[in-house]
Amino acid sequence: MSHRLASGGRLDRTRRLRFTFDGRSYVGHAGDTLASALMANGVRLVGRSFKYHRPRGILTAGPDEPSALVELRAGARREANMPMPVVELFDGLEAQSQNRWPSLAFDILSVNSLLSRFLPAGFYYKTFMWPAAFWEKVYEPLIRRSAGLGWAAKEADPDHYETRHAHCDVLVAGSGAAGLAAARIAAEAGARVILCEQDFELGGGLLLDPALEDWRAATVAALARQSEVTLLPRTTVFGYYDSNVLGAVERVADHLAEPPEHQPRQRYWTIRAREVVLATGAHERLIAFPGNDRPGVVLAGAALSYLRRFAVAPGKRAVVFTNNDEAYDTALALREAGVEIAAIADVRPAAVRADEARRAGIDVRSGSVVTGVGGGRDVERVTVARRNGADGESLAADLLCVSGGHSPAIELASQSRTPLDWSDAIAGFVPGQPVQRQRSAGAARGIFGVAEAASDGATAGRAAVAALGLGKTEAIALPPAVARAGTPSEPFWEVKASGKAFVDLQHDVTTEDIRLAHREGYAHIEHAKRYTTHAMATDQGKTGGLVGAAVLAEARGESIAAVGMPTYRPYASPVSFGVIAGHAVGKNFAPVRRTALHAWHVRHGARFMEAGMWMRPAYYPQPGEEKDAWLSVLREARAVRRAVGICDVSTLGKIDVQGKDAGVFLDRLYTNTFSTLPIGRARYGLMLREDGIVFDDGTTSRLADDHFFMTTTTANAARVLEHMEYHAQTVWPELDVQFCAVTDHWASMSAAGPKARLALAKAVQGLDLANAAFPFMAVGDAQVAGCPVRVFRISFSGELAYEVATPAGFAEPVWEAIMAAGAEHGITPYGVEALGLLRIEKGHVAGAELGGHTTARDLGLERMLKKNGDYVGRVLAGRPGLVAPERPRLVGLRPVDPKARLRAGSHLVAAVGDGQSLGWVTSAMPSVELDCWIGLGMLSGGEAWHDKRLFAAFPLYDEYVEVAVTHPHHVDHENARVRA
């Protein structure tokens, strides 16, 4: 049975669009929404409610829809909770109803409705409290099955989403009469304008009146001609943030089955606006009465929209229930479209429009209300009675149009911190004095009527132009005002009669639930909202939010103004996770930082590990090692101890420091002294935070009297630079020091092992590497394969080692030349895992020991603290708590049983089962030198425990490993190798 009118509407009737709903095929037209197309096909039952599984239909014609939510599309593109009235119809659209099982018509869980007296507000909080373990295993799955909305797709989203950063002089949100006028004024003044409209057609309420089409079309065309105007239909402004930054989502391809190639599905706009005009219109309010959620109950303005814009008759015989004049337009339009008007129930005792309607032959019952709705799953009968309950009459009707008045759409204004003022004239909240550079216009501030809104929009546009200082504005044509006698609306919220009267259709919140919340002490609007779930979720209570507040106000015996509304926060309308993530998904979640040798590592089969943004080779598996990474790691580390290895250490932070005061500056940053460092020498440095805790370490070399080259750990490179900038700019601005990061300019590689000199000497030209000529901590310039290099004789592994740095573009030829020179000595590339193993053997501290909780003394580095002179952290490092003898100190650890494994994170205890932790294992690895696991740890008492035994406890696995406590230097305690 078609409800499509023979003519009219903004449809392209030549374009037939096939779609399915719950597997059944239907046909609609271009210009339809899913809601209008289903309505045209006579489908009224479209969903089941959240808690009680009550049958639900289409209440609205816009994004305020609480009930008609569907899952759209299938497979990886399935999307839940899409309001039917904003789903633009496309050929091949698939939609499924939600929250019903096994089918929409026969929903087993609608038995919840019969149990509803046991499911009041706060039910979940009260019932599912105990035992706690039951929550996760029993209650939550049960609740999720019985109460809920749609299901998200489990597959990865195949579409991509774009981010767009925009700037404009004037952002206009909403393209009704007010928005179009404001945009036009601003555009004519030469402003850069962005006009956002959530609908796929610009015009808002203008789309409902053919008489206004000329003005709408001319205004839109004039805007489109302006090169500085960006018109964004299908774009919802969802958030208003500080500094006049607004967020919007453009649904670029939601109206297509799939996005065209290379086009995003949606676009996330971050708009920085100098001035904003909020022309977001108003939300029509429901009235709470028993059965106000039944399919066939439609808001009066929405019914007008279905008639005029979509050429659909939402029923055959209607009752109209109103507290205002606007609903009479709906009644007349319905009648004109051939829908019989059974009656108009007007809560007001008298109204001019009521008299007019009576003269036109309509049965208007003034001072009357709807007290109930009868029928199976949808509206079949409507009971109309006097406000005191008298003279009730059950009228046959399949459509009940309701209007409780209009609430300005104040979500965005409120998010911008604009206070909300109560208006008695419209019985609603309107935006007060703006805080940001913003103003509301038209229905968004309670100025109703097309001509009035357009005029108000033009005023707002002129105010924005004036605030921008753009000079004079042109006059523009506005729709003519229509003088018409009217009667003020009467605030009216609830019909108190027997049965469930809903204030929130999406979450099944009734007037009784609100009163229960009040009785139980949740009388503040924010508490009542959370206790009852009123005005939450996808529709944010746009149709019933104020009604709930009014019910609460009555319960509290106060005015609605005193009760207020819950705080409005982004998102004003739902936004998909996909568009928030944008391009930053999967491998693009964060940028990958690659060293200049990355391609070499890839070609040689390296397994990579992440270190911050860096990808570093963890190890290089060789044939036969694929199944056991330890084989690779141990082989690589063994090569360093016995022959020579080479490691890419380009990720270390490098900072070039220059200036007359560079030495003084470094003396103040490090605990030790650099101003005395000879040119051509490097020195290990330790840096503290001002609170006395170790911050970072690294070697710094002196290249000239006023020129140093600093290195930092990979992890702290950015923080150290920021620390230096803070001190140079704010603490000691008088110092002559210039520095900048050169991490990326230099690639560096460490050649380490007893054969390192033999290998390097063959590759390096222009530098004598003999021990006497180039001793430990020497620095010198040279060439390798014709490329400039700087050689540092420094060691992290504890072996004879050289760090070779070269401008990054030469990294590969230099690395290859050293590889070739070292081939006869078995030179072996080694990764971060072997590097870690080697430094643990050597007892060098790294991230696990420099975790922001250790002092220099804790790490056995107290000799690094100079006695004289100021440096960051000096004073607070001397606090009693930081020098207390019982503080954990760095020790070495070895299992007594050479086959036992040591686990980082284990606690050190005196006996099996002992609950008293004396310290913990910070790092552990199998040793290549000692043929057992070794570790480093922080142990209270430190060296007092040397050569004694403890247990490394890991209670999670019930592990207790007996360990011997040693000096942290597991190998070469005398430090002879590095000087060999």
Binding site: H583, P591, Q738, D744, Q765, Q783, G786
Partner: protein
């Protein structure tokens, strides 16, 4: 005998293959890598005026104020920090620019070679601004940003030095070399909707 240095390798050679990417259409952009010598120049304490004079006399260029770039036929200077500039010239030989700048500025400035630390790209074409707006948070509208203007600002996730060259519009983007491949990966994705022609490196 010392052998001469090979041509330095740019990380963009691997990442930026010449050819068409994304949509095919009339509104596409071109993207090209440029081999440049780069030097960071910073005034010694209290020597900013001396430095400006030295650069003007020795290099024939006025050091630009904040937010701007100055160019001569062979050299560009981009303001990056108070009393600090990035100088940019075609790559001739290793260390060439740093040597000549050092000679020109003497004790008035600190000179740091950044040739290998940063990678230079140019994006050009009628939709270049739209492409950048998918990741660039500053206003690139002609009323706000024009040839000769420059900014240090992130584009996508990656910090950039951005300057406008002409009204094509063409933009130069200078990024850390270790992030150049990631940046190009992002940029080609951003440009896919309009189409992008990657030209062989300059």
């Amino acid at each position: 005998m010392p052998v001469s240095a090979p041509e330095p390798r740019s990380p963009l050679v691997q990442a930026l293959k010449p050819g068409r990417h994304g949509a095919v259409g009339a509104r596409q952009v071109t993207l090209r890598a440029y081999r440049r010598s780069l030097v960071q120049l910073q005034a010694r304490k209290g020597r900013a005026a001396d430095l400006a004079t030295a650069v003007r006399q020795g290099l024939g260029l006025a050091l630009p104020p904040p937010g701007r770039a100055e160019t001569s036929p062979t050299l560009a200077a981009i303001w990056i920090q108070p009393s600090a500039w990035l100088l940019c010239a075609p790559y001739l030989a290793e260390g060439d620019l740093a040597r000549s700048v050092r000679a020109a500025v003497g004790s008035a400035g600190a000179v740091v070679d950044q040739t290998h630390g940063k990678s230079v790209l140019r994006l050009s074409g009628p939709t270049a601004r739209a492409v950048l707006e998918t990741g660039c948070r500053i206003d690139l509208h002609p009323r706000a940003f024009a040839p000769g203007q420059a900014a240090a600002t992130p584009v996508g996730h990656i910090d950039c030095i951005l300057r406008q060259l002409d009204n094509a519009p063409s933009y130069e983007l200078i990024v850390a070399s270790t992030l150049a491949e990631a940046f190009v990966d992002w940029l080609l994705h951003a440009a896919a909707a309009y189409g992008c022609e990657v030209l062989p490196p300059d």
